[in-house]
């Protein structure tokens, strides 16, 4: 199994540009999550999904949108990128919610917004 994969690994955007980050998992997990990690800080939850076709807001959802059209994929969109969105983005998945099972993380996407 590949586990959790993220595409792309690196990206540089100009302010106002849009992009989509793709997360894929091959473990048949119900729950998927998007986090951002800023220097010297822990991970903060952006959005999450408890199953195909569902999404919910996390701790820092503003400026992002998500979609879960297929169980194995979770997309994170930035409609109009801002320098404050420069960060490392991690996707994760788990069988059930975080209270019941560990979350498996992808390798991250490093995004720079100029």
């Amino acid at each position: 199994n590949a586990g959790v994969t993220q595409t792309p690994k690196f990206r540089v955007l100009k302010t106002g540009q849009s992009m989509t980050l793709l997360c894929a998992q091959d473990m048949n997990h119900e729950y998927m999550y998007w986090y951002r990690q800023d220097p010297g800080m822990g991970l903060r939850l952006i959005h999450y999904s408890v199953g195909e076709g569902t999404t919910a807001k996390g701790e820092v959802p503003d400026g992002y949108n998500v979609s879960r059209l297929k169980k194995q994929n979770f997309l994170l969109g930035l409609e109009s990128a801002a320098p404050s969105q420069t960060s490392v983005y991690f996707c994760a998945s788990s069988i059930l919610g975080p209270r019941d099972n560990e979350q498996f993380f992808g390798p991250g996407t490093r995004l720079t917004v100029l």
Partner: protein, 111 residues
């Protein structure tokens, strides 16, 4: 607001010594905690978890202690090895989809 925090941003230990990484939380209702390890350039990796009906849980070379009275938990790593060098996060798993991470402690292992 509610928070999860670690006591020291950096911990330096000698190879072979035991390491203790501490974490404090503020929400008395929190009842599930997880420790993650993050190596440079990688995503976090689950180490061990503990529920509030336990005071102690052991894994392979790791032990987590939970003190609900003072809202504190710790991760103990026995016989620390160079491969243990990483950033360690405690996380509060208080609700569905909502893991609240602390800021992380960087563990440096000296040869």
């Amino acid at each position: 607001g509610e928070s999860v925090g670690l006591h020291l941003p950096t911990l330096s230990v000698q190879e072979g010594d035991n390491s203790i990484i501490n974490c404090a939380y503020s929400n008395s209702a929190s009842d599930y905690f997880i420790w993650y390890k993050q190596e440079s350039g990688k995503g976090p990796q689950f180490i061990i978890d503990i529920r509030s009906n336990m005071d102690k849980r052991q894994g392979q070379r790791v032990t987590v202690l939970l003190n609900k009275t003072v809202k504190h938990l710790s991760l103990q790593i026995a016989a620390t090895q160079p491969g243990d060098s990483a950033v360690y996060f405690c996380a509060d798993g208080r609700g569905t989809g909502k893991l609240i991470f602390g800021q992380g402690t960087t563990l440096q292992v000296k040869p």
